[in-house]
Subunit: 394 residues, 2 copies
């Protein structure tokens, strides 16, 4: 990795040219070469197809190239990766296909995204399951990162019951920005008599921190390409465990789930494709693959995380110095999400005021706070500009 490559990556993103951007956790900027790759893919499909014997090898090549890149990042074989439209689909499609029994308990952390929570609640309603909660937010707020893994594992120990059949825990919490000990949790769950499934929302981790151990350890590790990976919106994926592939039935079945697409009587794919549905936008695969290549040129996941951490550290430290500001975490963040409150000032008003100045952060509902994200593209000048604006707003 060179600093030059990081600067190059930034320069390739027109979204960053006219604003001071801290919403990578919402959506990342799309580099121009990725948009060009999307375009070129569409043109090639029109040239070869769109529905001809000549176009299938190209479509297979583009999806296989992406599946392989994602599998490499996740530390799993490509047959364990399903491509999905978004994180929610990646979480929920396999979830609905698991073999549930009335009375099974879904243990959800209290920092899961509302979409995943609502999906679990609906599943519980239909299948007669119970929802229980794993409290991690207060631990994040009060525990130094060095002690957080143990604290989370102790909380898990207290929350597990004989009926626990699934644990849902994000890898990088979208509200506090803390990293959860996914591999240790997976190991603990293996000792449980029911070996509960481990569902990991990887919306914030994929592309921002190394994920290969966690992704390989989880049963469902669902991510999107349009946040920290800086790919196009509308394409993500999920890494699935071998035991899940063997035990889960597809729910939203279409021709891509079937081994022989022309025949409903045929069985489903044995691999993760059983959770793929039907026609999706292949040019997006070319775009995401290009974004992943550009990120790789800027450094390995560990090297990039070091840059992200350096940026979030600068922001976190600067926030400590502003009157009335409290960061959610007692320590510098483990990755690029920095959440904080701003004394008595209403968070929504602050977001609007900063936006009017061309600085973009977001607010979260639960807990009510502000969140600014730093990526490898974030400059020190941007951080200082944000700190100055927050100081004035406070």
């Amino acid at each position: 990795m060179t600093h030059a490559n990081v600067n190059t990556f930034r320069d390739l993103c027109p979204a960053l040219a006219n604003k001071t951007y801290f919403n990578y956790g919402g959506q990342g900027p799309l580099p121009t070469p990725s948009l060009q790759a999307i375009n070129a893919s569409w043109q090639r499909i029109q040239e070869l197809g769109p529905f001809t014997g000549h176009v299938w090898p190209f479509i297979e090549q583009e999806t296989a190239r992406l599946r392989q890149a994602l599998a490499h990042l996740c530390g799993v074989s490509p047959h364990r990766i399903a491509l999905t439209e978004n994180v929610t689909s990646g979480c929920v499609l396999p979830l609905w296909g698991l073999p549930w029994q009335t009375g099974d308990v879904l243990l959800l952390s209290d920092c899961e995204h509302p979409g995943v929570v609502a999906a679990c609640q609906e599943l519980a309603r239909r299948e007669g399951l119970r929802i229980e909660w794993l409290p991690v937010l207060e631990l994040c707020r009060n525990t130094p990162q060095a002690a957080l893994d143990d604290a989370v594992l102790e909380a898990l120990e207290r929350a597990l019951s004989p009926d626990t059949r699934l644990v849902a825990l994000s890898h990088l919490l979208w509200n506090s920005g803390s990293v959860m000990p996914i591999t240790a949790v997976a190991k603990r769950l293996q000792q449980h008599p029911k070996a509960p499934w481990l569902l990991v929302d990887a919306a914030q981790s994929m592309g921002s921190i190394p994920v290969e151990e966690a992704a390989a350890a989880a049963d469902i590790y669902a991510f999107t390409g349009h946040k920290w990976c800086c790919g196009p919106e509308g394409l993500g994926g999920v890494a699935l465990s071998q035991r899940l592939l063997e035990q889960a039935q597809p729910t939203l079945i279409g021709w891509r789930s079937l081994r022989h697409e022309a025949s409903a009587g045929s069985s489903f794919h044995n691999d993760a494709r059983r959770f793929e549905v039907a026609t999706s936008c292949v040019p997006l695969c070319s775009g995401l693959a290009t974004s992943l290549e550009l990120l790789a040129q800027a450094g390995t996941p560990s090297e990039r995380l070091a840059i992200i951490q350096a940026r979030s550290l600068r922001l976190w430290q600067g926030l400590q110095a502003i009157q009335g500001v409290s960061t959610l975490l007692p320590d510098p963040p483990a990755a690029g999400l920095v959440s904080f409150t701003l004394g008595s000032t209403a968070t929504a008003a602050v977001v609007a005021q900063l936006g009017a100045e061309g600085l973009w952060i977001r607010r979260l509902d639960d807990p009510d706070c502000l969140r600014a994200c730093t990526h490898i593209t974030t400059t020190e000048d941007e951080i200082d500009a944000l700190l100055q604006a927050l100081g004035a707003a406070g």
Copy 2:
């Protein structure tokens, strides 16, 4: 409508410049202005966003514009349209949310797409439902189109039972190319004590025939933008009945299903958005909206169908004159799908041989046959070239 506008539409499609194309039922060509609109949409999102207060009005405008255009075509209010990734999602997402009871019967026509059939079979397995079959293929093969509506309604009468809770019938059958009397079927189902749901796969009808009466009459009218509408792959929609919106729960729940996206405790949207899931590719909306506008410039749905019928008539009549060829239908097709067999010649070999000459048709498994589609872009020269090649291949 002018003939000039039809020619213009064809000239805007690079896919049609270097091949003789008859696979519109598989995927339609993407006009260059639609690809340009997709690109412009992405650039605008990067300029305004991608995740800022400035970008939301643009995203709302692009999705609302498409939702409105689709609602207009379907003859329903925009609140009854959900945007989906593909036809399968449009069929299956609402299907899984309906209130089923053990023993309910799903009555499927024997011409449904394998994806929909497999999804119904899995639903039946999980919910203890029974699948029964509505035989229409043999009717299509043996009944003149003028008598087909009555024949289908009689078959429906024989197939309905007190336990029938859903009927699945495509509007334009993907294999035989026959149009089904959807509004009459809907009326009949209203008289049934259980008022069975009517699920209509509109993959082949949307963009090729007028759909507004059928779409408004069905409970689930699911279509895609990438076939006869000539939009980008990965975007479709579904028109939902008011009673379905009131009685069905969403299955694949994400932030877009929720009235307040930040809170899982909030209720679902009252309108069709409860079946939308999470982040999807907004630029595709700009592309499909552009394709629909270009098609509208070429004529109303009825005017375009007249052109499509004139083309399929020429092809159908030409096929009658070729030794060994049998068309599936005894009459000229009601729309643009022309299915036929070619004596003893293996269908797969014919597809490959024609492909080598730059002529693209496809084969179907059930019944084993060849299918060539004519759209408004099809020229008489193309049809004559196909007929000549088939004559040589027979």
